[in-house]
Structures are given as structure tokens and as C-alpha cells.
Assembly symmetry: C2
Homo-oligomer: 334 residues x 2
């Protein structure tokens, strides 16, 4: 069931070689202790989130290990961004199969180091174990913000505008391209569009640069991980409101528009596919301008797609104002 080792164990050597160089935060104690220490700034509180990604489920086994590491961290950074929190650090739980190679670990550690630095979210501690299953990476990420200012999902009120960052559906289309080799040709995508969509699935772009502005201007927010339609439904349920979205205003990339032009049914994949890791927010009408200006200032595209209404339920309206219906509104593991 378990293996043993002499002197500094294989596990200790693995940590020393790959992860200690990333753990420069003083609270990480060089990964040489049972636990890490984190002190939120005075008047601040902690925002805590965790997401796990599994080989063969959330990424492909032949994805570059540096991208796998970055995705594992970024899906958590995206939650912190949606809540308006500033990244403070993360813990990493890594379950590795026996056939993992030093090259894979090298790439993984390089990707992790790069994003830990890039997003100012240092590795604070972790655990590394063996598994007979696929690579399984759990990250618990921590952010800080002034007490009582976390942007919740529950603050949306009738009349508030709905906005999303970036473009919706690219990651779901990128996944389809990976699963269906003929799709790129069928959708008449040029090589640049193919690469773009594939990259959007491989590596989300969390919107942490917008966190401060969301905290100032949004009444509710969440990151779109399980599909815009289903995630909007969640935000509305917990806020006790409904929503109307004009689908024509949902921001799409050039590549997504090209694919949609060929196969109009892809609108369902785009709106329900998931893995966008964009921010969906409700914003009081008077604050939309300020949030827009803040988004422009940090280079994040922001689009108004609809509004919050009193009547429960989320309605996705087509160009003629008719309610659209889909077989599935969001991704679920179960």
C-alpha cells in the first residue's frame, strides 16, 4: 500500500526540488513546517476558495504540464476576482500517478511559479501524495479585502444591469475542437481561430485586475465556470430575482462568431458549455458607467447583456425577443 525511503524522503526531495523555489512568501516557512501563516492586513478579512482539476476530466493528459498548473491556479484566482479579493496565496494538494516524469513535474512547477508571480499569489504550502488514478490537483486560494466588502452572488436587485467580461463560449468551443477533429473544418475556422479557441480552453484568463472595481461597483458577481446560462440562473436564485438576457448582446469572439455563422445550434454550446472563467456581474444602473471606465482602464472588455428583473427565472431572448430553450443549461459532474 505504501512505499518507504531513507534519509530525506523522496517526497521531501520532490518538494525541495520543484516547489520550495516557488514558496518565497515568509509565511510559507520554506515548506519546511506542518502549516503556513497568513496575516490579513488590519481591517481586512480572508476570502477562501477551492477548486480541484482532474486529468481526463478538466484537462487532457497531453496538455502541457505548465498549462495544467496554471489552469489549476487560475480557476481559483477567477473566484477571488469575482469576489473582489486581492490574491494572498494558495495551498496545493497534488496526487500524482507512479508514472509521472521529472519533465512533467519540471513543466508543472515552471507554470505554477510563473502564475504565482504574475498574479502575486504565492505558494504557501501543500501536500504531495501518490495515486493509482489520474493527476489530481486541488488548490485552495486565499484573498484579502476590507471587512464586509466581498461581492456576493446574492446582491442582485430588479433593475440592475447584467455585465460580462471578455467573450463567452470560446473555451467550450475549444474543447469541442479537441474532441471532434472535423469540427474546425466544418466551422470553416482559419488556423488563427483554431489556435485561439484551443488556447481559451487550455488556459483561462482570470480577471483579477478588475477585482477592485467590482468591489466598488457591482451588487453581485460570480465567475462563469459552468456556462453563462446556468451560472446566471444560480446568481438569480440566490438573489431571489430573475433575469432577461439579450443573446445578441452576449460578447462573442471573431472565432465564435465564425463557427456560429456556420452552425447556428452552437449557441447552446456557447451559452451553456462552461470553462469561460469570465466575470458575470449585476451592477446598479448608475454604476455601469464607472465600472465600464474602470474596465477600460485595465484593458478588460466589458459588455452589458441584459438586466435583473423581479419575475423569477432567467430568460434568454433571441433577436426577436423570443425566449430561447436549451436541453441543458449548465455543466455538471453528476
Amino acid at each position: 500500500m505504501r512505499r518507504s525511503a531513507n534519509g530525506p524522503s523522496g517526497e521531501d526531495r520532490l518538494i525541495a526540488r520543484y516547489f520550495k523555489p516557488i514558496a518565497r512568501h515568509p509565511g510559507a516557512l520554506g515548506l519546511g513546517d506542518d502549516a503556513a501563516v497568513l496575516r490579513p492586513p488590519r481591517g481586512h478579512e480572508l476570502v477562501l476558495t477551492t477548486d480541484v482539476i482532474v486529468g481526463g476530466v478538466h484537462f487532457f493528459f497531453d496538455d502541457p504540464p505548465s498549462a495544467v498548473a496554471r489552469k489549476a491556479l487560475r480557476v481559483n484566482l477567477s473566484d477571488l476576482a469575482a469576489k473582489g479579493a486581492k490574491p494572498a496565496g494558495f495551498l496545493l494538494s497534488l496526487a500524482l500517478p507512479a508514472d509521472i516524469t521529472p519533465e512533467w513535474l519540471d513543466g508543472f512547477a515552471r507554470g505554477l511559479a510563473s502564475d504565482a508571480r504574475g498574479y502575486s499569489c504565492p505558494l504557501l504550502g501543500g501536500d504531495t501524495v501518490a495515486t493509482p488514478g489520474p493527476v489530481t490537483i486541488s488548490v485552495a486560494a486565499f484573498g484579502t479585502l476590507p471587512k464586509g466588502t466581498m461581492v456576493r452572488r446574492s446582491g442582485a436587485s430588479a433593475g440592475h444591469r447584467l455585465v460580462v467580461t471578455g467573450a463567452i463560449g470560446d473555451a467550450a468551443l475549444g474543447l469541442r475542437l479537441r474532441q471532434d477533429r472535423g469540427a474546425a473544418k466544418r466551422w470553416k475556422l482559419d488556423p488563427g481561430m483554431r489556435r485561439y479557441l484551443a488556447a481559451r480552453y487550455l488556459l483561462p484568463i482570470p480577471r483579477n485586475v478588475l477585482a477592485g472595481a467590482l468591489r466598488r461597483h457591482a451588487s453581485a458577481a460570480m465567475d462563469v465556470s459552468d456556462g453563462l446560462a446556468g451560472d446566471l440562473a444560480k446568481l438569480c436564485r440566490i438573489s431571489g430575482v430573475g433575469a432577461e438576457v439579450e443573446v445578441a448582446r452576449v460578447p462573442l469572439s471573431k472565432a465564435a462568431r465564425a463557427a456560429l455563422g456556420v452552425e447556428s445550434g452552437l449557441i447552446e454550446t456557447i451559452l451553456t458549455g462552461g470553462d469561460d472563467f469570465e466575470i458575470l456581474a449585476a451592477v446598479p444602473a448608475k454604476s455601469v458607467g464607472a465600472l465600464n471606465a474602470a474596465a477600460r482602464a485595465v484593458g478588460v472588455p466589458l459588455a452589458e447583456i441584459g438586466r435583473v428583473v423581479k419575475e423569477k427565472g432567467t430568460r434568454l431572448l433571441d433577436a426577436e425577443g423570443r425566449v430561447m430553450h436549451f436541453a441543458h443549461v449548465s455543466f455538471s459532474h453528476f
Copy 2:
């Protein structure tokens, strides 16, 4: 690669049914948000730790699911105890195979709820995903303590006494009993001893009641998870010291003494096998009495087993004062 669902997703239903009832801490936001909020008391800081357990590696597939849940939480609680921190809450990452049953989840949630309550360590949030591999449970646990008071591994100095809680080696012997059906008979264990050792492997007893006393009296501490010999070596390496342990003073249960009486080679399993989840601490000689009194007051057995010395390296001494040598000093996954 992924499945979809309508309305509140299967994942949402699973969370609502099994985990929402456990998440009563206000900062958990009913598990209805992207993240949780935690506010350490004024003048306090956070202690963060994570440990992952994997089916077929850290527990058996036929272990009761309530015990699996409790073990997943307790191995983390044990780290908080060793650091002197008071539990504040935890995040749960759960990767579940497709054939998991509602009965298993029921039992798992019941065990988790019981320990979350018993150790005052509420569920704050989590993530649940599907895996083609075994059940994989990652917990990130948080504790609080007054700023700057965390008991580190690095504070041991020559002359300090070494103490351990409870008894050493029981879990490793309990594991051997699970792996080797003939062992109980060979070791001449009565049914009570067998049950006792099996229970010690199945479910550790974290020493959180001793956390405050450790913070007041210990110069260094860690929990013994990978075997006393190897973990002591880690503590000494990071403290820049050595240690001498009188093996005859290492506290053993009646069951362990019985097995050892039949098979003297088991001393290696006992000292290096791991999964004890007892506390190993270095204590200035003048504070040993006070720590002993505090341990007695909370009903935790405490034994002095040796002392910290200047000369590097850890020496385990037999009854004649000779240094003992083992093939493997601690458990490692790699």
C-alpha cells in the same frame, strides 16, 4: 468528457443534500457562493494546512465512509494542534468516481458533520468533481492564534526535552493487521487488542485539546504522520540540532507491547511506520512540568522520550545505550 444537467445541477443537488447542512458557519454563505469569508479575531493570524487522502493509498475502499471523512479532516486538525492553533474551519475538495453510492455519501457527510462539530471546525466551502480514479479527498484547514505564536518545527535547541503524546506505532501495526490476515494470530493478540490497533489505523485522534499548552510551553512541535524516527529527523534538521531518544521510553500501547514481545523486529514498524498523528514536541527542561500538568488536565498522555543535542543526526538508543539502525526511517510516497 463531461456530463450536463438541467435546472439545479446534480452537483448542486449533491451539495445541497449532503454538505449544506454541515456548513452553518456564517462565512460559508450556505455554500451558495464562489468563496467563503473568514475574519480572524483581532490580533490573531491564520494558520493554513492541507492534506489529501486517496482511496487505496491512505484508506481502504471498504473502510466505513464516515471514518474516511473523519480521517480526511483529522489529519489536518492534527497539524493545527501541533502548531498550537485553534480550528477555524475548512474547505473540502472531493473527487468522486461514477459508482459512488448515496449510502457512501450519506455516511461520509455524517462523519464529516460529526467531527466538524466535535472539533469546532466548520465546513466553509468546497468543490465536488467526478474522477475516473479513486475517491480523493483534499482538505484545507484553517486555525487562528495570537500573532507570532505559531509553534514551528524550527525552535528546538540543545538541552530541550523531547516529548510525545499518546502511544506510538499503533496505526502502523493496525495497518499491518489489515494487510496480513495471519499477523494477529502470530502476534498472539486478543480480540480487544486487534480491534484497538485496527481502530487506531482507521481513525487518528488529533490532539487539539493540547494546542494552547503547546503554544505556551513547546519550543518546537510537529505531528507524527510519517513515523516517529523520520519526523524527528525532520524537526532536528530544520532546527539545526540532533536528538537522542531512549527507545525504551517511547510510549507503547498494551497491544503494541504484546506484538513486540512476540516479534521484536516490529520495533522498526512502530518507530517508522507512520499514521500516528500524535504530537512530537521539544520543550525547554524548565517547562516540562507545566506541559505535563496541562496534558494531564486535558487527559492526554505525554511521555518524555529523550533530548535535543548539539551534535546533528538523530540517535535511537536501545536499552543498553547502543544506536539502533533501520532500513527505512520514514514513510514516503515517492
